[in-house]
Subunit: 499 residues, 2 copies
């Protein structure tokens, strides 16, 4: 073995060590959310803290720096080259934060989540305010350490969606907002009013679970590389490429929670399960960004799962698992009901059309906050004003308003835009997919595999080998363009509401 081969081998060993910590962190997290007994949590939190520190130490170690310097310009192996770049980015970003500050921040995060939980339960923003103020300060400081060109918020966006800036968002969001608003006005004027009460009949958990599993199988989710469990907050998590687990929530009085939740998380899981094995045990073996990840989950949930084609060919199957009351519900009424548009206080309960408005509200507030244009104490009022402005409703308390999401309590500023970006990406991918695959036929013949295959070929297999913007351009031959989502929504709701 030559010197370079030896070096590459040693580098791979270091990556594999890092990966071991990350697999254990993922397992610990999965267990804490699904199986851990109540009293085991305290000690486990310490263990997780220890593992996270170990991983962080490796990522910023002298050893890591050495491999980056030695291999950066001097490897012909494309995977190693990209892995080195990924490690370098992490190294630079992590090294810019003094270790003491990092540790204090991690402790603040974990405390803040508990305080947020209490504040939300009591609908008492004042409890959470001092913590949120410190979290904002940290994020402002980190953003300064990391650096940015135009807007301080760009430094935070970069953590979740590299390449996307406030400039991009300020370009695409207004068009999207206007299109949605105009659709909303027409929908409100429409005489057609879907009746979603027909969906609310008692649907036993075990039957929902069986139907969910059947759909996951048809999507191509591999149960020998994953499993489905039950949690209050559904999620997907990858332990390694051959162990990608999802969870869902069952509401026996409303099956939509479980079915669409399962399809959504299944979309995330398909992404992780179908990354090329060649990337295993490297930092490239995961989704390339939050936005691209969300494009996969939203694609399956909305573009497939809430489509007419899907229910035309799966409604009979559904009725085999569903309560008998559905026998009396015609397909068309069912389809309209699951696509009812109705302004909601809660983001995760929002319909397909109004969902992006929730994201825009958060984005605008975050940007102002991080830029120092508004204070944390201004948030509750501004939130309510924006809800009124965008959605025409005002939350009764901060529980249904500014306190509803956990993200800020975890210090995740710059995360929310990924949800709307993912939605636009999904529409843009869907546009190309529909040209290359006969989607309707694939769905109606139950051959969802051909859709999964296209996604794997064009998106999944690459993991982090391609950055999100490169991926979008490679697949769609253009940059992020909101027009595809606008067209999709216009077409879908014009049809449903006969606009």
């Amino acid at each position: 073995m030559g010197n370079k081969e030896l070096l590459e081998k040693d580098f791979k060993n270091l990556l594999s060590e890092l990966n071991s910590y990350k697999e254990m962190l993922a397992l610990a997290q999965w267990d804490m959310r699904t199986k851990i007994p109540k009293k085991g949590v305290e000690q486990r939190s310490e263990v997780v803290g220890f593992l996270a520190e170990k991983a962080h130490q490796l990522e910023t170690s002298e050893k890591m720096k050495y491999f980056i310097d030695m291999l950066k310009e001097d490897t012909e192996n494309e995977i190693i080259k990209k892995a080195v770049l990924e490690c370098e980015e992490n190294y630079i970003r992590n090294s810019k934060i003094p270790l003491d500050e990092y540790k204090n921040y991690v402790m603040l995060q974990s405390k803040s989540e508990a305080v947020w939980q209490e504040a939300r339960e009591k609908a008492n923003f004042a409890l959470f305010q001092p913590y949120l103020e410190r979290l904002v300060e940290y994020n402002q400081r980190f953003a300064t350490y990391w650096g940015y060109e135009d807007h301080i918020y760009d430094a935070l966006l970069h953590n979740f969606e590299p390449g996307i800036t406030t400039e991009t968002l300020d370009r695409v969001f207004p068009d999207l907002r206007q299109a949605i608003s105009s659709l909303l006005t027409k929908i409100n004027e429409s005489s057609l009013k879907p009746d979603s009460s027909i969906l609310q009949s008692h649907f036993p958990k075990t039957d929902q679970e069986e139907f969910s599993k059947e759909i996951l199988n048809r999507m191509g989710y591999d149960f020998s590389s994953g499993r489905l469990d039950e949690t209050i907050h559904p999620f997907a998590i990858s332990l390694n490429l051959n162990d990608v687990r999802i969870t869902t929530r069952y509401d026996e009085s409303d099956f939509r929670t479980a079915i669409f939740g399962t399809i959504h998380e299944g979309g995330h899981a398909l992404y992780e399960q179908n990354i090329s094995e060649k990337l295993a045990s490297t930092p490239l073996a995961t989704g390339t960004s939050m936005g691209i990840h969300e494009s996969q989950s939203l694609f399956w949930e909305n573009f497939i799962g809430r489509s007419k084609a899907f229910w035309s060919s799966h409604y009979e199957l559904f009725k085999k698992f569903a309560p008998t009351s559905f026998q009396q519900v015609p397909l068309n009424e069912f389809y309209q009901a699951i696509n009812e548009v109705k302004a909601s206080f809660i983001r995760i309960e929002a319909d397909e059309l109004t969902y992006p408005l929730h994201i825009m509200i958060r984005y605008e507030l975050e940007k102002l906050l991080i830029n120092g244009d508004i204070k944390v104490s201004d948030l509750p009022n501004l939130w309510n004003e924006k809800m009124q402005d965008y959605l025409g409703i005002k939350p009764p308390t901060d529980r249904e308003g500014v306190l509803q999401d956990i993200h800020w309590a975890g210090g995740d500023f710059g995360y929310f835009p990924s949800y709307a970006l993912g939605y636009m990406y999904a529409a843009q991918f869907n546009h190309i997919l529909s040209r290359e695959v006969n989607v309707k036929e694939a769905i109606s013949t139950g051959n969802l595999g051909s859709i999964k295959h296209w996604l794997t070929q064009n998106i999944h297999q690459y993991g982090k080998m391609k950055k999100p913007l490169q991926l979008i351009e490679d697949v769609t031959q253009e940059k992020l363009n909101p027009v595809y989502l606008i067209n999709y929504l216009t077409q879908k709701y014009t049809d449903i509401y006969r606009l």
Copy 2:
């Protein structure tokens, strides 16, 4: 803080690091046995290997040696003192084995388990023989590294039951064997023949699970610090004092597997759940030996779970969960049936009386093997001869014979005697318990808590603060004495079989 306090604090931090690795190893193992998807196993094995190496490195590190040297003679803190001694023992034992040999041995173990599995399935001892030969060689060499006074096998016994030697076993086993043989002869001559076919009616899994959970609750197993899952091979595992999980196996045609299995594992779990919180995050926060652990599981399974007092007061409860056929089975016939004596090829299916004979066979063979008096290739024949001699039956193939247990494939020589020791310990503890607590009354009033309380006060709380022999003497005021088990078995089976 003085120098000594600082030193103790740093030592505790090291122990807590070590504990983090061990908690993660336990979680990984639990997950691999209960939840992991099939294809996730390969990568996980690497992660487990990595974590085990990390823990081993810490246990044999210069840093560990430093704390041992500095604190051994110079601490007034009783817990730290014992923790140092425990670490020193591990340090010395682990350091005596060259790292290369250790690694090769770990790899051999993991390979051997897979080969053993195949060999057992195919009832083909020859497949397994070369691996077993190497495992025996390693164990002989390790025993030499570790050292011993009289018998090489003592060095291996020490790993599982410190203080117990071949001399002890050779003193107690013959008496026990003779007592059992004499009881067996009488039982075979007795006209009373329990009818265990009355137990075999279809008992749905969910009902068995509910009854099992009810009994666990009554035993005092804390579900907020644990959980019950299903596996083919039941086990108990402690992640930390507040997270002690158990599993059981459900056989819908024979409830005994699940019920007695659950009580058995519940006994192990009660031990771990009730260790003093003061020992948390030290190597003392676990059961003191395999034998003492087995004394707790066997105590609950046999002395409580198969007792007349237990079923007199729980049979009505049982019938609420059981198939209706049990309504026709009188308590006495039920009690006789669950205590039927019948020679069995398989150790884990053996009845209470013949169980120790299975252990003696393995002990005698292991001793000869490690001492070099017999060869691995002699095992199948010798096994069958001893089965004939001790139990009067001969296994049809090696699958039901020498290949039945996994222990040797994992290199665990010296482990089996713990099972019989645990049984004798249990009887000896039970003798004192019965003097200090009105056990029959406690059982009949459903107050198993007073039994758990006694076990916690006398045994559980100490964790590894007391070595097994010290514990036995402190609780029973004498050394290991097989007479209590002999008396218990004699009394029980004289009553059941009207001898």
